[in-house]
């Protein structure tokens, strides 16, 4: 099957774009990676995602697909030969989709909320909430993995991708706030899972470098703080 007509519009710090990189790697799909400058979006991006104007966008046979989880499911369905990203049983698929929705609708906004929290008390509350979410996900991991390495079992799958893409941003939040979020004695399953996920063949070459991402995060968060300070004067 011709795979040269697969393009990914992404940005290296984006955990959502990372989901798509990983999914494409799982299926061993050759693709062209187009790095977007989010301060100066390309015409291609604006045309391909007029509704949200956001990355990632997968362009396959010149047809754009948007929204990272819709793209991951598309990849699983359009390249249906093994390995599968979603399980085959409808109930297991529903459980996987449930946890991906929890991660996107609840947990990620909490993680994002840490950077936006103003003052020590609000920061602590935001960090506590992220940790509480990880405790819920630890329990989910126990049930889904059934003693194996990943949420999906022996190989990484949908929920692993949905959550694993944020691991470097968890590291950033930990370093910037001098706390531990992925606490090994509270979340032993997730702690072990995190290491295995980052080492996985489909992940390790596309995961952003920890220190580069920290530097990037420091830069944009300090720029944002300056902007807020000057607009409040």
């Amino acid at each position: 099957m011709a795979t040269s007509d697969v393009k990914l519009l992404g940005a290296w710090p984006s955990p959502f774009a990372l989901r798509v990189h990983i999914a494409l790697n799982i299926k061993s799909i050759d693709y062209e990676c187009l790095e977007e400058n989010l301060l100066a979006k390309s015409q291609l991006l604006l045309q391909s995602n007029p509704v949200h104007k956001k990355i990632p966008v997968l362009i396959h046979h010149d047809k754009p697909i948007c929204e990272s989880l819709a793209i991951v499911q598309y990849i699983d369905e359009a390249w249906s030969s093994a390995p599968s990203i979603l399980p085959s049983d409808p109930y297991d698929r529903a459980v996987a989709r449930f946890w991906a929705a929890y991660i996107d609708d609840k947990w990620f906004p909490w993680l994002n909320g840490v950077a936006n929290a103003q003052g020590a008390e609000a920061k602590k509350a935001a960090l506590d909430q992220v940790r509480e979410g990880l405790v819920v996900l630890e329990e989910a991991f126990g049930k889904c993995s059934k003693g194996k390495d990943f949420f999906s079992g022996d190989r990484i799958g949908y929920v692993d991708i949905a959550l694993g893409c944020f691991l470097r941003w968890v590291y950033v939040a930990e370093k910037r706030n001098d706390v531990k979020l992925l606490v090994e004695d509270k979340m032993p399953g997730l702690a072990a899972w995190a290491n295995k996920f980052c080492e996985d063949g489909a992940v390790k070459d596309v995961m952003p470098d920890k220190d580069e991402l920290l530097e990037f995060a420091n830069m944009i968060l300090e720029a944002r703080a300056k902007l807020n300070a000057s607009s409040n004067n």
Binding site: V51, H60, K63, I65, C66, E67, L69, A70, I71, Q73, Y74, E77, A78, P90, Y91, R93, A94, V95, R97, F98, A101, Y102, V136
Partner: protein, 225 residues
């Protein structure tokens, strides 16, 4: 094997209605359990411990939560009258629009326009109009978002078909102008008139009362800040 299928819902939840519609479209029998969200049953808390919300579908003792997740489960388990298209690209589009409906349209119309007033409402209205325009464009050449018949996206956006007129009456403003959004207005009518949908909608007077109370409470809370 006797199938056991239960749907936990409330009388008014539009999210639960999606599941009612889907099951009826597929001709699947099920038992309804009405919940009082101010006094949640132990069963609900057991079946949806993470969110403690409706709808929850319990199939042979196994619970599924989150309405769009439940819709996909139903579509994959009972294959007649498919809700999602077969083609992967079309399926991706359907998932995109359903998510747009919940993340953007519902947020701007309900939380933005309906539950606010004054300047905040005006700003939300601008956003809501942009969102509705995207839906209008998506309906070009189609009767339903699903094409010739009701599909996944129609069920996901179906709340618009009846709730818009309720929001308009309670808030006293027009949200979907037939002149601005002719295709959307036509779709709302087609959807609302469809046999299964029109027989499975909560009573209008009860909805008006509920949403009037909700809006009044929200505006009072905002004013007292």
């Amino acid at each position: 094997m006797a199938e056991e299928l239960k749907l936990f819902r409330t009388w008014s939840s539009v999210f639960a209605l999606r599941i009612v519609w889907a099951l009826k479209i597929k001709g699947v029998e099920y038992e309804t359990i009405f919940e009082d969200l101010s006094n949640k049953s132990p069963s609900l808390l057991q079946y949806n411990p993470v969110h403690k919300k409706v709808p929850v579908l319990v199939h042979n003792g196994k619970p599924i939560a989150e309405s769009l997740v439940i819709l996909e489960y139903i579509d994959e388990t009972w294959r007649e009258t498919p809700l999602l298209p077969e083609d992967p690209y079309e399926r991706a589009m359907a998932r995109f629009w359903a998510k747009f409906g919940d993340d953007k349209v519902l947020t701007s119309i309900f939380w933005g326009v309906f539950l606010k007033e004054g300047k905040e409402q005006e700003e939300a209205m601008v956003e809501a109009m942009e969102h509705l325009q995207f839906l209008e464009d998506e309906l070009k050449g189609k009767t339903f978002f699903g094409g010739e018949r009701i599909g996944f996206v129609d069920l996901a956006l179906g709340w618009l078909a009846n709730m818009i007129s309720i929001f308009e009456e309670v808030a006293g403003l027009k949200m979907v102008d037939e002149d601005k959004f002719p295709l959307l207005a036509a779709w709302m009518q087609e959807f609302a008139d469809s046999p299964i949908i029109k027989d499975n909608w909560p009573p209008r007077d009860k909805l008006i009362a509920k949403f009037q109370a909700l809006r009044d409470a929200k505006l009072a809370a905002a004013a007292s800040k």
